[in-house]
Amino acid sequence: MRSTLFLVTILMGLLSSCTKEKIEPTSIYALDYDNQVTKIEFLGEYTSLEAIQFLQLAGLDAPLETTCGFSLYRFHYKTRDFENKEEIVSGLVGVPKSSNIKGVFSWQHGTNTYRPGSISTPSTDEGIGLAAGFAGNGYLFVAADYIGLGVSTSVHPYYHTESTVNSIEDLIKIGAVILKELTPDNSNLYLSGFSQGAGASVATHRRLEQFNTTGLQIKGTAAISGAYDLAEVSIPYTIEQNLVNGVIYMGYLANSYSHIYNVDIEDIIQEPYASKIPEYFDGTKDGSFLESNLPSNLQDFLQPSFISDVQNGVLNPFLSYAHQNQTYQWVPKSPMRFYFGSEDKDVSPDDSKNAFEYMSSQGGNVELYNLGNYNHDQSIVKALPHIQSWFNQISD
């Protein structure tokens, strides 16, 4: 009897979830994207009930509120690379099935070396899970793959701020076009990201406060466990702690800066690994491949002279370029929150603390949140309910 009543309740819930107003997939194709979009692919649609179930599987401590279903698309669009050349990149767009959209929510993903695992190839871990939490809560969800991932086969400009922000900003503009069509009186923009994406979120916020081409107003930025100061904090912490993933981070960074700044990889990384770096970080190798083919100890991977420079505070060319790509030495006017886990062994908690201290000392509109004794990956799970709740509070 109880089970029957339970089933009846589920069925009634299903009935009610299917009566929401729907946005037809085809309407997205007809908008004017100012010739910046080269292709749109429909990737599927999910109901609010499915959104709830995805989020349950994600094991979040606190619930993420879901109010509607959503449709997913992969957009191919134009952006500018580190040489200011046009590049076709891709990103995931989640359109809520609601006529009252709260604004554009731009998610910036963390470190990913594997192109088939790009966020625009959605999975429950990232693309669909996040779209469920935010598109399923009435936000127009956008998430750039960045250059070198998704449909782009260039070298990924890992921690090259300018080109990364270009790809994010150009996707936000596309989001703004869709938002204007679906909810014309709304121009809210929310930024959030994790790890590499946290720095990218903060840098995007900086760009848009300096020169906003999106037509949207930043309501808030939530940065989770980000590395904002590679030269002074992140790289020294990686070497000092001999971090488990440090080899991957440093290899990825060396490959990126070698490509962009013509830094010699052999100046940073020892042979026999140095000559394999371009092949290993070409977007076709996943984390497990890299873990099994690269040493686990940074002492066996990095050049002793490079380690010495880092330990002695010598700003060699590589560290100088890393310093150029810092994302914290400015003063945000719109609200910004830094979240971190105190047991983070991938990115130093000091990165968030230092960024907060610098910005707040200059009068910036920033807050710092210690999520508790959580590691890098746990911090995202702990932070997301806070972020959704905060964005819901500040949305008009």
Partner: protein, 196 residues
């Protein structure tokens, strides 16, 4: 709501005491059904199948069902699946029935990805299709009417709500799909063996 359901079930059970014995019930071993199979309720689909009456009492039956069904949702997906269900049906003596099933199916789903390529001068639109096999556990609740209880008509009408979990879908996650099933069951009577 809870009280209403309890009263309804008490009423259905109470009718048993004034019922007439229906001797034709145990002569039925099979039923064959066909009907509408609405994907997410509103998208067109059809189902056909057979139900095997594994055990029959005056008001209860244990039933095994095999069915073949398809559906289509324009520009999103279409599918065909073979489904096996096991469950029970309670039939009041005046014909109203309630039923519930658990099931497992194997589904072949074709996903549509409408795509527009703006790099061509005309903005070429196309629909890319991809197919995937998946499993489909499901539960079903239904109501209906058995005409044989009051009329000499071996016919049942049913309206069922089915929830299926399809895994994996095109994005390698699961879909929770509600179906609305409306149709009829025809139950051929078995010939009685003559006794000498």
């Amino acid at each position: 709501m809870l009280r209403r359901v309890i009263f309804l079930l008490l009423f259905l059970f109470s009718t048993e005491s004034i019922a007439q014995e229906n001797e034709t019930l145990t002569n039925r071993k099979w039923g064959f059904f066909a009907g509408y199979n609405g994907f997410r309720f509103g998208n067109f689909g059809l189902q056909i199948g057979a139900e095997n009456y594994l055990a029959t009492a005056r008001n209860f039956q244990i039933i095994g069902i095999s069915s073949l069904q398809f559906y289509t949702q324009k520009e999103v997906q279409s599918g065909i699946d073979l489904n096996f269900r096991f469950g029970q049906r309670f039939t009041a003596n005046y014909g109203v029935l309630l039923e519930s099933y658990i099931g497992l199916g194997v589904a072949h789903t074709t996903y549509s990805s409408p795509t527009i390529d703006f790099t061509t001068t005309t903005g070429d639109s196309s629909v890319t299709k991809s197919s995937k096999w998946g499993v489909k556990p499901n539960i079903t609740l239904g109501i209906g009417y058995d005409f044989n209880r009051k009329l000499d008509l071996s016919l049942i009408t049913y309206a069922r709500t089915n929830i299926s979990w399809l895994y994996p879908d095109r994005n390698l996650v699961f879909q929770t799909i509600p179906f609305l099933e409306v149709g009829i069951v025809i139950m051929p009577k078995l010939k009685q063996k003559k006794s000498y």
